[in-house]
């Protein structure tokens, strides 16, 4: 009974541990897994758990933004890239020992720095009684939106005269980033454009494309009545020869 009371009192910690544990756990899954597509999927789940942490902190707007931008945008892009290029060689990626050591050193030192910074900051120590946790309806979207258009409404009571006019917003960086993104979009669209091929159907294109598949030495082959099986794609299904045996053995392709 008391245990449940304790559990309830610390409900915020409980859910925090679930979300944070899942974020960290799936992050470790990204490190440990050897299948690249599964790595990408674990990253999706890890970022989704981070969004859960944001919701737990009451920052609904940022949480939804995390879902939309990271999970819905960046990860979709990543998964597209991974799936379209995941040939047999890259599907299994093994991390070698020297990679592990280097990663531990670099990542570990970053972790140390972050931990020092986190525990050293006054604001980030929670002095309150953790059993008093509430999720606050922060209504953060409006001040965020206003700040992006130049009006810092949360600084109107600031003693600093330069700040309490409410004009120290982020309009300029916002515009710069927007234009920057526009430039990136246009550049990407330009680079990914289809090169000038005759896309028409029918007679107009048949001559153009036919040449791509012309066999080398085609005329000689026909003259000498010999056939050459140019099966370079080993993954094609192998037909059976007249005796019903599989011609899987490459030596079976005879050249007269």
């Amino acid at each position: 009974m008391e245990l449940m009371a304790v559990a309830w009192a610390y409900w915020h910690q409980f859910f925090f541990i679930i979300f944070a544990g899942s974020a960290v756990g799936f992050g470790c899954g990204v490190l440990i897994s050897q299948n690249i597509v599964r790595m990408a999927f674990y990253l999706v789940l890890s970022l989704g758990s981070t969004a859960g942490l944001f919701f737990l902190a009451g920052a609904e707007f940022v949480g939804a933004m995390q879902l939309m931008i990271y999970v819905g945008g960046t990860m979709v892009l990543l998964i597209f890239g991974v799936m379209l290029t995941a040939q047999k060689d890259f599907v299994n990626m093994k991390t070698h020992t020297h990679d592990w050591i280097l990663a531990t050193v670099v990542g570990g030192s970053l972790l140390m720095v972050l931990l020092f910074a986190a525990f050293g900051s006054e604001d980030w120590r929670s002095p309150q009684d953790p059993t008093d946790a509430h999720i606050v309806d922060t209504k953060a979207a409006t001040p965020l939106g206003l700040a992006l258009t130049g009006v810092r409404v949360d600084k109107l009571d600031d003693p600093n005269d330069k700040l309490n006019q409410g004009k120290s917003g982020y309009l300029m960086p916002f515009i710069i980033i927007s234009v920057h993104l526009l430039v990136v979009l246009i550049g990407a669209a330009y680079m990914a454009r289809t090169k000038k091929l005759s896309h028409a159907t029918g007679l107009r294109s048949s001559r153009a494309r036919l040449s791509v598949f012309k066999m080398e030495d085609e005329d000689e082959v026909l003259e000498e009545e010999k056939y050459v099986v140019l099966r370079k794609d080993k993954r094609a299904t192998n037909p059976l020869d007249t005796n019903g045996n599989s011609t899987d053995n490459p030596d079976n392709t005879d050249e007269d």
């Binding site: 449940m4 999927f41 609904e60 707007f61 933004m65 879902l67 939309m68 819905g72």
Partner: protein, 436 residues
């Protein structure tokens, strides 16, 4: 609802958490009913409507003359099917994909209000939340296509992912218009702002919003992969696209996710443009007064009979209008042929996005120039449209904390993530005290 449980059953002591858990469970069960039973109903509706369009009857045998239980019979058959996994499939991804799709479709209902106050979680940025979660459904599709291990499935999955992600752009642009008309992202507030006669609905606000509603519906149809945008399921071309290898329960989960999403985007259209849970004639207040008033916010007392009646009527209105939206999608599917993928993309980038952008500018201009609108959004202050429970709460807050002048902007929430009391005295940061 949780407070209700805690008041009457569990008290404030150590068992109070059970109230929250039960409230959450009830909300989950209700939403599952919406998605699953709704899917069952909509599949039946689809078959009947399709039959009638094609000059034949639909199902007529199971469950009486109209085949009400046909989908149930199909569901039982699907559950009883053999569970196949292709040999070349990536087992983990193959198995988890339908659940991801279903989870995304289900989660978005958390923030969707069925009536004033009838919502699983009162999310203040509900519009954004719903859009964000809706975009996660594409993962289920991609994983299904890849995990099946066949070229055809991968084709279908990639096409569908490209389509859904592209159509999120004009969808977002269309959704922003009601948001700025109402000044809030809270779906309950947007729904409440359209109460009154049918002319109060945002779709009739100005001609640009009318066009935006139509563009929204088109983009929503594309976003849930319904015909004429249903390349991913194009049976005649790729057999069944990304879910070729799925059979039995897994396949049925994909379809529940699809019908759930159809109802979701339809419901979102209803709230944003078509009045939410309000009917064409305002009977809510009159009826509530007849039955004894709507006071008693949920949590202080048992909700009064008036409040319950209004709530039930609101939910019925919402579901009815959402079902009409779904019926229109079904109607379109069985009438038109299918677009090619390049035509779908051209439609998005060359038609939907420019039209949405132009109408967005037009709607903004209409408001800025203060052109006449048939609704009375301008007269009332936005606070009056908030959910009743939050208005009560805010009233107490206003009385306890010294109120600031309306023209002075309030301070936002302090930076600490966990606070003990809510320090916001007015629910929205309103620069000029109401719309002008």
């Amino acid at each position: 609802m949780a407070e209700f449980f805690n008041e009457y059953i569990f008290g404030d002591g150590p068992w109070s958490w059970l109230g929250y858990v039960i409230a959450a469970l009830i909300a989950c069960i209700l939403i599952i009913h919406v998605v699953a039973v709704g899917a069952m109903g909509f599949i039946w509706l689809e078959r009947k409507v399709a039959g009638r369009i094609q000059d034949r009857l639909g199902p007529t045998r199971v469950g009486g003359k109209f085949g009400w239980l046909q989908t149930l019979a199909d569901g039982i058959k699907l559950i009883a099917k053999e569970d196949l996994t292709p040999d070349v499939a990536d087992r983990f991804l193959f198995k988890i994909a339908p659940y991801v799709a279903f989870a995304a479709s289900f989660s978005a209902f958390i923030a969707l209000p069925f009536a004033d106050g009838v919502v699983a979680n009162h999310v203040n940025t509900a519009v954004f939340f719903v859009l964000a979660v809706l975009g996660l459904e594409v993962f289920g599709v991609i994983l299904a296509g890849y995990g099946s291990g066949s070229k055809w499935s991968l084709f279908g999955a990639m096409r569908e992912a490209a389509q859904v992600v592209s159509y999120e752009v004009p969808l977002g642009m269309c959704v922003v218009v009601p948001v700025f008309l109402c000044g809030t992202m809270n779906l309950t507030t947007i729904g409440n702002m359209q109460e009154g006669f049918i002319t109060n609905w945002l779709v009739f606000n100005d001609p640009f919003t009318f066009v935006i509603a139509i563009v929204y519906f088109t983009c929503a149809t594309a976003s849930v992969n319904r015909a004429p945008f249903d390349l991913a399921e194009a049976e005649s071309e790729l057999v069944a696209g990304f879910h070729t290898e799925y059979s039995g329960l897994r396949w049925s989960l994909f379809f529940m996710a699809e019908y759930g999403s159809m109802f979701l985007v339809s419901g979102l259209a209803v709230i944003l443009f078509f009045g939410g849970s309000n009917g064409p004639i305002p009977v809510g207040d009159w009826l509530a007064n007849l039955l004894g008033g709507v006071e008693g916010s949920i949590g202080a007392n048992l909700p009064s009979l008036g409040a319950i009646t209004v709530g039930v009527i609101g939910v019925a209105n919402f579901i009815f209008k959402g079902a009409i939206g779904v019926t229109v999608m079904i109607w379109i599917r069985w009438t038109f042929p299918r677009l090619r993928i390049d035509q779908v993309m051209a439609m998005c980038l060359k038609y939907c996005v420019p039209i949405a952008a132009f109408c967005f500018v037009g709607a903004v201009g209409w408001e800025v120039l203060d052109l006449p609108t048939p609704n009375n959004l301008d007269e009332k202050s936005r606070y009056e449209y908030h959910e009743k429970w939050s208005q009560e709460y805010l009233k107490t807050q206003r009385e306890s904390v010294p109120t600031e002048n309306d023209t002075h902007v309030q301070q936002a929430v302090p930076a600490e993530a966990i606070v003990t009391t809510v320090a916001v005295s007015q629910s929205d940061l309103d620069v000029n005290g109401g719309k002008q």
